[in-house]
């Protein structure tokens, strides 16, 4: 059914950012309408309960200390959580060797480990000099932004193994090849998460906690009070704007509102047609934004057999499709689940393989990591985020080298009545669920100020 609707504010995207924005506005007495292209809320979180009750987390899943907004929402919604399993030794597969270690830094090779600590200290101390709200203001922004992370890695006096591990880290964290992003972007991202150490570990780090029912329940909880103000299957195709109004065209009709918050990744925001067109710098920015490349696989076994060998399930490897794994088992269930990430160029390669070939390659990787028992799973689930029409990648959108320093200012700056949200616009925990929530709340606050400044009455007031 096609219909014309009115609202004070229309929000594009029912992920955590859009729903957080909408809820904040609703709480402030503003009438909102959320338009979502998919047939579900949650964006890049997607938790599916399979027939046997096992929850598969196809998208974002981890929470950690200092992620106060998402932790607050978990508490507010009364969602149960559990600690990421991390007992036992991690494994590093490097140069054909299989080294055990504990913590975030592989210690099997002491010289390599010391190099990695050097790298972590150097990157963290440098990132602390970046203002995450204005990375382009750094005195060396132009230099840092014209240097790729790969150039930086190659120039360091580290062992080859250490350099390789930092490359693997880049693929896992961003997820992008270190040659695809600038050093400025990497430093900005590390800064927004509080430093490298905070981002790569489990305990006391970003991978510490999971939500028992699945992370998508955060969005279900946010959407509940919004009721039918959330419209699914409504991809937005065009936004017309005037000084004080927007008309948003979508598959369900049109919506006229005072303001719009576009809460989708910049590269997808750039695919909407705007009338009048976006200012050149904004469009140049979205042209230079790209999504990370990742496939996420869950491999289910009758039991977490790797724990018998004193292994945590966390592996970093320098070969194979799957180069990062974690123990994904739920503490209340008997199955053992390994989650693997196929990142960056490996993700692009894997997305072009047939499902059976990909599955065979994944199992081959897991056998190399955990032994022959890994060859016989009882379940296999995968998601290629690259192929998701309404994300076109995960976990986060990034900037190509040279973009932050020249066009970064256009990332958050409203264009007339159109405001921007999404984890890509977050200053703190950019790329994470926490950042998405913060960005939505910040955009809602900015819209409220904007409406008040222009003396615009809301639907409720009328």
């Amino acid at each position: 059914m096609v219909e014309d609707t009115r609202a004070d504010v229309v929000v594009v995207g029912a992920g955590l950012a859009g729903l957080s924005a909408a809820r904040s506005l609703l709480d402030a007495g503003v009438e909102v309408l959320v338009l979502e292209a998919r047939d579900r809320v949650g964006g890049r979180t997607h938790s599916v309960e399979e027939a046997d009750g096992l929850v598969i987390e196809y998208g974002g899943q981890w929470l950690g200390p200092t992620q106060d907004r998402v932790l607050g929402l978990v508490e507010e919604l009364g969602l149960g959580t559990f600690t990421q399993y991390s007992d036992g030794d991690n494994l590093q597969l490097t140069d054909g060797a299989r080294l055990r270690y504990q913590g975030a830094i592989p210690t099997g090779d002491p010289v390599q480990a010391a190099d990695l600590i050097d790298a972590m200290v150097e990157l963290t101390l440098t990132c602390m000099e970046i203002d995450p709200a204005r990375p382009w203001d750094h005195p060396l922004a132009a230099v840092l932004d014209s240097t790729t992370l790969e150039t930086w890695i190659s120039a360091q006096p580290y062992s080859d193994g250490a350099k390789q591990w930092v490359r693997t880290l880049s693929r896992a964290v961003f997820p992008a090849e270190p040659g695809e992003i600038s050093l400025l972007h990497a430093l900005f991202y590390f800064r927004s998460g509080g430093g490298v150490e905070k981002m790569i570990g489990t305990i006391n780090s970003a991978q510490e906690t999971r939500i028992s029912l699945g992370a998508q329940h955060l969005s279900h909880g946010l959407a509940l009070p919004l009721g039918d103000r959330v419209r699914l299957n409504c991809p937005v195709t065009r936004i017309d704007r005037s000084h004080d109004d927007v008309v948003v065209h979508h598959d369900g009709g049109t919506t006229t509102a005072r303001r719009a918050i576009v809460a989708i990744p910049p590269v997808l925001a750039g695919r909407i047609r705007y009338s009048p067109p976006m200012p050149g710098v904004r469009d140049q920015l979205t042209q230079r934004s790209f999504m990370g490349s990742v496939l996420k696989v869950h491999v289910v076994y009758a039991r977490p057999f790797w724990r018998d060998a004193g292994l945590s399930g966390h592996v970093t490897a320098d070969t194979g499709l799957v180069q990062i794994t974690f123990d994904q088992s739920h503490p209340d269930r008997t199955e053992g689940v390994l989650v693997g990430f196929i990142d960056s160029h490996l993700g692009r390669t894997a997305s072009q393989m047939s499902e059976p070939d990909r599955r065979a390659a994944v199992l081959e990787d897991l056998v190399r990591m955990f032994g022959d028992e890994a060859a016989n799973p009882i379940g296999y689930y995968e998601r290629s985020w690259i192929d998701e029409e309404w994300s076109r990648g995960c976990y986060v959108g990034m900037m190509t080298p040279g973009t932050w320093s020249t066009l970064g200012h256009a990332l958050r700056e409203p264009v007339g009545p159109i405001h921007w949200a999404g984890t890509e616009t977050a200053v703190i925990w950019n790329g994470y669920m926490d950042g998405a929530i913060r960005s939505g709340e910040d955009a809602a606050a900015a819209v409220l100020v904007d409406l008040a400044a222009h003396g615009l009455r809301t639907e409720a007031a009328r």
């Binding site: 504990q102 913590g103 830094i105 210690t107 600590i117 150097e122 509080g194 150490e197 570990g201």
Partner: protein, 126 residues
């Protein structure tokens, strides 16, 4: 996870920490990587009443240990005496998941990271 650990007396903990200070000054990696680091640390065992120390790093050089808590700390480190001793002796990985949960720090994230780095260099014999 509950772990039974023996209590380490204040004197032994002091000895371990003095050895740690010597190792920090002898570590070429720590001296190079942390050359610009200055920090006043208060270190206290949660299970031994009089086991509290002031450890000062000036431009990467560890100063002689002071028994008791002196001055305003940049970083406070607390933990069970056994866990602290394991780290000071260089016997335990200071950034293992267990230690990350067992040792509590209060202060700026970059100071915590530098302390972790120093402890790791000592643990690795680098």
């Amino acid at each position: 996870m509950s772990v039974e650990r023996e209590t380490i007396g204040a004197a032994e903990l002091e000895e371990a920490l003095r050895e740690y200070v010597d190792k920090a000054n002898a570590s070429p990696r720590a001296r190079k990587t942390l050359a610009t680091w200055s920090c006043r640390l208060h270190i206290a065992a949660t299970d031994v009443e009089d086991a509290a120390f002031t450890y000062v790093v000036e431009q990467g050089a560890s100063q002689p240990l002071v028994v008791g808590l002196e001055g305003v700390p940049d970083l406070v480190v607390r933990g069970h005496s056994f866990d602290l001793a394991e780290i000071f002796w260089g016997d335990a990985n200071p950034v293992s998941n267990y230690m990350q949960g067992a040792i509590k720090t209060q202060g700026r994230a970059d100071d915590v990271m530098r302390l972790d780095a120093m402890a790791m260099f000592i643990f690795l014999g680098q």
